[in-house]
Symmetry: C2
Subunit: 257 residues, 2 copies
């Protein structure tokens, strides 16, 4: 069991981490560049040790979690000397190498979720992807992650980059398609809410089937009559996107003779 964790950061990811660590009694200290942010988060989770000074980090914690903006992680690491403890960052797109030459025992602990400071997310069901610079570090990161979530998966820095691409498709782009549906409905003076039961059903199917297995719609059944009538109704990039995604579905699902 990792007993004492120092959390460096007070942003979207850090906030959910602070709540989870505090609940299990392992949150020893919160650092934020801005004392007000550190204090506010500490108060919300019931932690009595805060600082805005990297030189005042507790020297003897078991683990240090660097959960700050991607472009300042390296800077934070450089300002604190190695103390032999486990050091991890929580970034999806930054490699483990940020710690190379600066720490002995280090890794990455990346919780795959869309976090917001305003609404802390319980981590129990979030997939956490872990990486370590050597077997002993990996074991330590894995231990820390498994204290937070039931779903701990090892992933290299390259796998983590691909996870991020997959998440862009699965979430950012899917959400944009809902924007395009919303635009289509507005043009017809219909409410987007009409789509919600349908979207929820589509997502619910993923619990039992792979997305490829649960694909439906005109492209899936090669219904060219409906596809052509839809293309005729669309213009601008909605037309291009409809055509490209339809072709992508058709190609992956040839009709059986």
């Amino acid at each position: 069991m990792i007993q004492r964790v120092v959390l460096i950061g007070s942003g979207n990811v850090a906030t959910s981490l602070a709540h989870a660590l505090a609940r299990q009694g392992t949150l020893a200290q919160i650092y934020s560049r801005q004392m007000a942010h550190a204090s506010q988060l500490a108060q919300a989770v019931g932690c009595d040790c805060v600082t805005d000074d990297l030189q005042a980090l507790l020297p003897d914690a078991d683990a240090y979690v660097v959960s700050v903006r991607d472009d300042v992680i390296a800077q934070v690491i450089a300002q604190v000397p190695d103390n032999g403890a486990l050091w991890v960052h929580t970034s999806g797109s930054k490699p483990i190498d940020l710690f190379a030459g600066q720490r002995q025992c280090y890794g990455v602990l990346y919780p795959m979720q869309s976090f917001s400071r305003q609404l802390p997310t319980p981590l129990d069901e979030v997939h956490i992807f872990v990486e370590g610079n050597q077997a002993i570090s990996l074991a330590a990161v894995r231990q820390l992650a498994s204290q937070l979530s039931h779903h701990v998966v090892e992933a290299s820095s390259d796998q983590r980059r691909r996870l991020h691409v997959a998440a862009v498709f699965a979430c950012n782009f899917a959400n944009h398609l809902w924007t395009l549906a919303d635009e289509t409905l507005r043009e017809a003076e219909l409410p987007f809410e009409a789509m919600l039961p349908l979207i929820r059903t589509t997502v619910a199917k993923l619990t039992h089937l792979s997305p490829a297995q649960s694909q439906t719609g005109p492209a899936m059944r090669h219904d060219m009559q409906v596809i052509d009538s839809h293309l005729a109704m669309l213009d601008g990039d909605k037309r291009d996107i409809y055509a490209l995604l339809t072709r992508s579905i058709l190609e992956r699902n040839p009709l059986n003779d």
Copy 2:
């Protein structure tokens, strides 16, 4: 209150309709071309009047719901003389005009949901889109629909076609993006299940925000460094789709100066 409804059909949509009508005690008869299908559905919902003969439909019901495959609706209508009752079909893409010249009082009752025969869906929360050939028919269709669901919305045949396009974007295409995410993860030997919490969070946001308001990701924040690194990792149609959807998001969300 519409008291006695004859249901013509025993497929995906008809099955959920049969359950909903039977629960409120308004299901008077089930027709299917195949007696076995009619009997099976009737037994499942507790209805004691079935037929496989269009000439044996009860002559004196209040409403007749034609819930058969799009390409046989017209055929069914043509085989039964008008009896002055309300007649509706349940198709998303077929116009109301299928009844023109064949009935006096007619309309469309289109429940917007992905139905499956195996698992009847409660209709209470499903948006039902209604159309009538005249005020009195519309009132009757609206009455019938409101006995089934809290969400009844009037929609013309043209609006219904646009609804269908919107549903293709919102569900069929979104699901295909999940297939592309799955492919990306497989290449990295990672499980698709890792995406599910993220997808669920993205959908949950739609309850409070429009999809445009809740858009996030590299394209939304114009992070060209991440976008370029993602494009460099992709090939085939995944690369084209990434580029097109990214452009579509960038164009709709210009950076403020």
